[in-house]
């Protein structure tokens, strides 16, 4: 019996579920149309006769499709808060009065038109649902915190982009083909007030400029709740940003890590916290630190930093292999080697580990150091450079931090380094937070109102905050504000009616978008279907979509600022070690051939970049050089680096066609020559592979029975880009060596388990080659970005010692430190790639100046205060030096393609750096939300985006 009941219950459940499904699919839709009505009253004569009948003018203010039996959401709201909707339906030419109804009981059973008569009822018509202009975007990752002090990802910053405004912002120039820096929060350009701060307090000397800047801010700034914003808010926000208890992730970003370095911001942030720092940063010598009672430690990192400070830019492995056997052998008192080495005895093998030294160990270590080479006299200074102490930063007075309120609308920034023009405005980020909300969301409080430091509340041990993580904890001072948010699902922004910009005449007619929806849609196929169904307004094309939409009128291509490379790290010692097993037996493989430049050059020429892109990333463009076409070398005027003569010359010289340009030669001009470059030359590649092989044999890198084995590292084994790329490269290079002595002797294997640390794996020579790697995010500062390729700390190929690579550049004499401008000549200046890099960063570096037959030692510098015409030749020379190393072989310039909805229009067809195609400010709509819904419905619920102009 029980079993029967169970069966009956099951059948009932199945039936109920099926019924539910059927109902869900079949339930009817009805359309509600909303009209605003203006009534012109009838005119009557003295006797009451109607001479002119009343006129009714009705305008559709929106439509809404609702389920039969449900309540419409569109309505009119009177000033007293009464909600009005019409109670029945009428023909469109008829007009009826609105009446007050209870929305919860008002249900729609058939198509209905609802009228509201503003004239008669004093009704202020609210915008009916569906009449706005909503942008719908999909996101694959979700923002979790948009607190400007701690946000981390680009996704997090999405909301910030709408809810905040900078001091200055990118806008179109007059001809709409470039950008300008337009005032936003700031009024007018910053004013140089350095002269007002001359003196010891700020370390500013008479005659210095560009170190203190006064900025005027608007007097009508306010938060989305109407609370005014003035200069005090900027000061308070800075104090909260630099709060030593918080250690906010973005504290350094805004205030001292970039070009815009506020004086003493770092010291204020660090106070009360302990950092492992070189003894030399705080004491004259090691003995002084010991006397002060500090615990001394030694790390690999400290040793490398010390080498760098001594002007030797090397990896720890290089230090061990090259310097340690010569300079760090420990001798006894008779001068005989003890068999011990300072490195192996005192420095721990684990790079992340610090060795804390006891008093006895420390004494022994000092003694050992004094018995190395001839270091005895200078041990105190030198050991202070690589030994570290746990240094606790002392309390720091806020008055010494370089941000000052002058009055409610004026702030002064006092900087560590001179900065002006574009980079000054660009560096001035906004880290504004709403203090009362910020504090209510965190475990901070001010124990002393005069203090600039917010301390942790009693019982709290670690700072925590929920500011800007939900609608309730969010504050906006930008054009839009967050109105809805559900974690990992969606968020919605609507207009911030208290934003100053809407009253600004310059913005009239702009910002048509009334709401912005972001929906989490992880699957690309779902995004495409939703886009075609009119539910999304943009769709990022994938490689699989390109066949269908590559030439669509709605497809927009956008170049990125990154270049993707094949990266190699030719470290002879490390590569050689990998040719042996643990017992020291040779594995009959060769990797050392990678250190032969001709081999890497052959790899560069053997790569058919166009075919690679087609196979792996159809939206990308084949790369010919280090920097992409989106890199700007003169941000003041928006000049793209690749359009300059220097950059063009670098390309043709790198590809070896510089001498084929000119009248009567292969190419009429340099542009034609560059256009002809594909980077693919299989014949030259074969020649270079053979040359490389011969050199490797001569250097005894490779034997007759050795097989060249290259391990390619990828972050994972699942990414289609890396899978396709690996297959392509293996096939490409296997074919490229056919006909050479390497035929059948060049093999590849793959390590696809490296995760996010795959770059480190190459640096440590765990793998021999990476592909699809590069740097991003410095489009406006290639002079800083060059560090990534030339300085040991960032290089993919630290095996390349840039201190030994000398480059000669013809420059004006103004590059010299102390130049008074009287010498207008140009000279050849020679120094290492390493020093040129530092020169671009504003440091004075040693160089050799050639004057006729004579060589003179000088100091040169080429920081941000130098004109770009002086910096550009150095940058181009650096690019060429990096390229000619063939460690970073350019494959592709980053580019993406996306479909644009028919609903919207971009302001410019061309993508302009900084402003894109107009962004939210300039986007216009061809349909409002209702019209769009109707348009999609008319097209059967699926729109065709494959049409082309042809």
């Amino acid at each position: 019996m029980k079993t029967k009941r169970i069966l009956a219950t099951m059948l009932a459940l199945i039936f109920a579920f099926s019924l539910t499904l059927t109902l869900a699919a079949c339930v009817g839709d009805v359309t509600v149309t909303y009209y605003a009505v203006t009534v012109t009253p009838a005119v009557t004569d003295d006797e009451g006769n109607v001479t002119t009948p009343a006129e009714y003018d009705s305008v559709v203010i929106g439509t809404e499709v609702v389920k039969s039996g449900s309540t419409p959401t569109g309505y009119a709201v009177a000033e007293d808060g009464t909600i009005y909707v019409a109670s029945s339906y009428y023909a469109s030419e008829e007009v009826d009065t609105a009446e007050e109804v209870d929305l919860s009981t008002f249900t729609v059973k058939e198509d209905v038109s609802l009228y509201a008569d503003e004239a008669e009822y004093g009704v202020s018509l609210g915008l009916a649902s569906g009449t706005g202009y909503t942008l719908n975007y999909a996101t694959t990752t979700f923002p979790t915190t948009w607190n400007s002090h701690i946000y981390q990802t680009d996704t997090d910053s999405t909301i910030l982009g709408y809810s905040s405004t900078g001091f200055y912002e990118f806008d179109y120039n007059e001809s709409k083909d470039g950008y300008i820096w337009a005032d936003a929060i700031a009024v007018g350009d910053p004013v140089d007030v350095t002269a007002d701060y001359v003196g010891e307090d700020w370390g500013i000397a008479e005659g210095d400029t560009a170190l203190a800047w006064k900025v005027e801010i608007r007097d009508d700034l306010c938060w989305d709740d109407g609370t005014p914003i003035d200069a005090d808010d900027f000061i308070t926000s800075t104090q909260l940003l630099l709060n030593p208890y918080a250690q906010n992730d973005r504290a350094d970003d805004y205030t001292y890590a970039g070009n815009f370095q506020i004086q003493n911001a770092r010291a204020f942030l660090r106070q009360g916290n302990e950092f492992d720092e070189p003894v030399a940063d705080h004491f004259a010598g090691l003995q002084e630190a010991i006397d002060a009672g500090y615990t001394i430690s030694i790390t690999q990192e400290g040793v490398i930093a010390a080498f760098a400070a001594w002007g030797v830019n090397i990896t720890y492995a290089q230090a061990v292999n090259t310097y340690s056997p010569v300079y760090f052998v420990i001798y006894d008192d008779e001068g005989e080697p003890t068999g011990e080495n300072f490195f192996s005895k005192w420095i721990v093998a684990n790079a992340d580990e610090a060795r804390e030294l006891s008093a006895d160990e420390l004494a022994e270590m000092i003694d050992d150091y004094q018995h190395c080479y001839d270091w005895a006299p200078s041990w105190n200074d030198e050991m202070a450079m690589f030994c570290t102490i746990p240094y606790e930063y002392p309390e720091f007075d806020w008055d010494n931090v370089g941000i000052k309120k002058i009055d409610d609308t004026h702030i002064v920034f006092i900087l560590d380094q001179p900065l002006e023009g574009f980079y000054l405005k660009y560096g001035m980020g906004t880290w504004l937070v709403k203090e009362d909300l910020y504090l209510s969301c965190s475990n901070l409080e001010k124990d002393d109102t005069s203090s600039a430091i917010y301390v942790l509340k009693a019982g709290e041990d670690v700072y925590a905050t929920t500011y800007n993580t939900t609608v309730a904890t969010s504050a906006s001072y930008g054009p839009y504000k967050l109105s809805e948010y559900q974690v990992d699902k969606y968020f919605k922004l609507v207009k911030n009616e208290n934003w100053w910009g809407y009253d600004d005449e310059a913005n009239q007619g702009l910002y048509q978008t009334t709401a912005i929806n972001y929906i989490m849609v992880e699957s690309a196929s779902t995004r495409l279907q939703m886009f075609l169904a009119g539910q999304l307004d943009s769709y990022g094309l994938t490689a699989d979509d390109m066949d269908e939409y590559q030439t669509s009128d709605y497809t927009y291509y956008t170049d990125g600022d990154s270049t993707w490379f094949i990266a190699l790290n030719p470290n002879l010692g490390a590569l050689g070690e990998k040719e042996f097993d643990e017992e020291g037996n040779h594995l009959n493989i060769d990797k050392e051939i990678i250190t032969v430049k001709e081999f890497r050059q052959a790899m560069c020429y053997a790569l058919d970049r166009a075919a690679y892109e087609l196979a792996c990333d159809p939206t990308g463009n084949p790369a010919k050089a280090l920097f992409s076409p989106m890199i700007i070398c003169n941000p003041e005027e928006g000049i793209a680096y690749r359009t300059t003569d220097e950059a063009k010359q670098t390309i043709v010289e790198f590809w070896g066609i510089a001498d084929q340009i000119g009248p009567g030669k292969l190419y009429a001009d340099i542009d034609e020559a560059i256009d002809s470059i594909t980077g693919y030359n299989p014949e030259l590649a074969k020649t270079k592979f053979q040359e490389a092989y011969d050199i490797a044999v001569e250097l005894e890198y490779i034997d007759a029975d050795d097989v060249v084995t290259i391990t390619i590292g990828t972050p994972n084994l699942t990414s289609s880009y890396y899978n396709r790329g690996y297959d392509f490269l293996v096939n490409c290079y296997t074919q490229a060596v056919v006909g050479t002595d390497l035929e059948g002797r060049l093999v590849f294997n793959r390590n696809g388990t490296l995760g996010n640390g795959f770059a480190d794996a190459l640096r440590a020579n765990q793998v021999d080659m990476l592909f699809g790697v590069g740097w991003t995010g410095s489009a406006l500062d290639p002079y800083g970005l060059i560090d990534a390729y030339t300085l040991n700390s960032n290089q993919y190929d630290p095996g390349w010692n840039t201190q030994n690579e000398y480059v000669t550049i013809v420059l004006p004499a103004s590059v010299e430190v102390g130049s008074d401008g009287t010498d207008e000549g140009t000279y050849e200046y020679t120094t290492s790639v390493y020093y040129w890099t530092y020169a671009l960063n504003g440091y004075a570096v040693p160089a050799t100046k050639t004057v006729g037959e004579e060589e003179v030692s000088v100091q040169v510098t080429a920081g941000t205060n130098q004109p770009y015409s002086l910096r550009l030749p150095i940058l181009a020379a650096m690019e060429k030096a990096v390229l000619l190393q063939y460690d970073m072989i350019p494959i592709a310039y980053d580019s993406s393609a996306s479909l644009k909805s028919m609903k919207i229009e971009f302001y410019t067809e061309e993508y302009i750096y900084g402003v894109g195609r107009g962004g939210i400010k300039y986007t216009t709509f061809n349909f409002n939300d209702d019209e769009w819904a109707a348009h999609v419905a008319q097209n059967g619920g699926s729109l065709d985006y494959t049409s082309t102009a042809d």
């Binding site: 079993t3 099951m10 915190t145 660090r270 905050t465 929920t466 559900q486 699902k489 779902t526 619920g941």
Partner: protein, 320 residues
Amino acid sequence: MVKYILKRIAFALLTFMIIVSICFVLIKLLPITDAAQFGQDASVIETRRKLLGYYDPIPKQYVTFLTKTLFGGDWGVGEQIYRTKDVWEIFVEKLPPTMLLNVYSMVFAVPLGLAFGIYAALKKNKWQDHFISTSVMIIVSVPSYVYAFLVQYFLCYKLGWFPFLMKEGTDYLSWDMFVSVVPAVLSLSFGTIAGLTRYTRAELTEVLTSDFMLLARTKGLTKAQATTRHALKNAMVPIFPMIVGEFIGIISGSMIIESIFGVPGVGGLYIKSITGNQGNPDYNFFMLLSSFYTLIGLLSGIVIDLSYGFIDPRIRMGER
């Protein structure tokens, strides 16, 4: 019985502590990625990590975990994922959509699975049985995300019957919400229906060929009477705990189905807590999820074991 249950609970708690401790140590043994980033002051991140206790000795961290978290109930905030948000609140916020999806799926799948299984067993070796068994083999062999894409393409895109994604908001019991999860429910259910059908058919077929069924028929019972009164009852002994187990699985989400249909549930949360941000796991999320699912798994084991006794009175736990 009570003594047995208490004993099982005590052992479960002991097992829980051992598993959680192992999880804690293992996750803490994973290396922390270098804080150094191009153009940034790594010391800010390092200091923050230090303040959070990342570099404390593991035993010290473990004591803090026991006192503050496990027994103190403070699971902390997200440090690598869902940064600054209370991990417990996030978990609780994300659990209902997952549970909703799974409950609907079970309500749909269990009756159908049983019905098909029973029907196939009764029609053993006839065309109906072959049809069901073949269908089951096909369905079991195809991954659920394939159904998901097919369901979404045909029902949501081509026919437009359902929305592409689960509805926004937290009105989980509303009509609109129900309609929006139908595609996900269907995608999730196919596998369960097929599995249950196959299992029920196998169990019931075996019981139907038992000697006691022959005895029942010789006593004069009809085939239907013998099947419902004896065969089904016996076949249910292994099937019912399986169903109970499926219901317990309600709190664990399907990462792929949830991502395809935009369900903001807990599917994938565990993996996300391990992969974390730039290779650094989120310890707080990982320990909360490890602890929660370990506890639920252990308790469900007890419930399943006890359920045998309720279904078949001959089975008595802990009695000699």
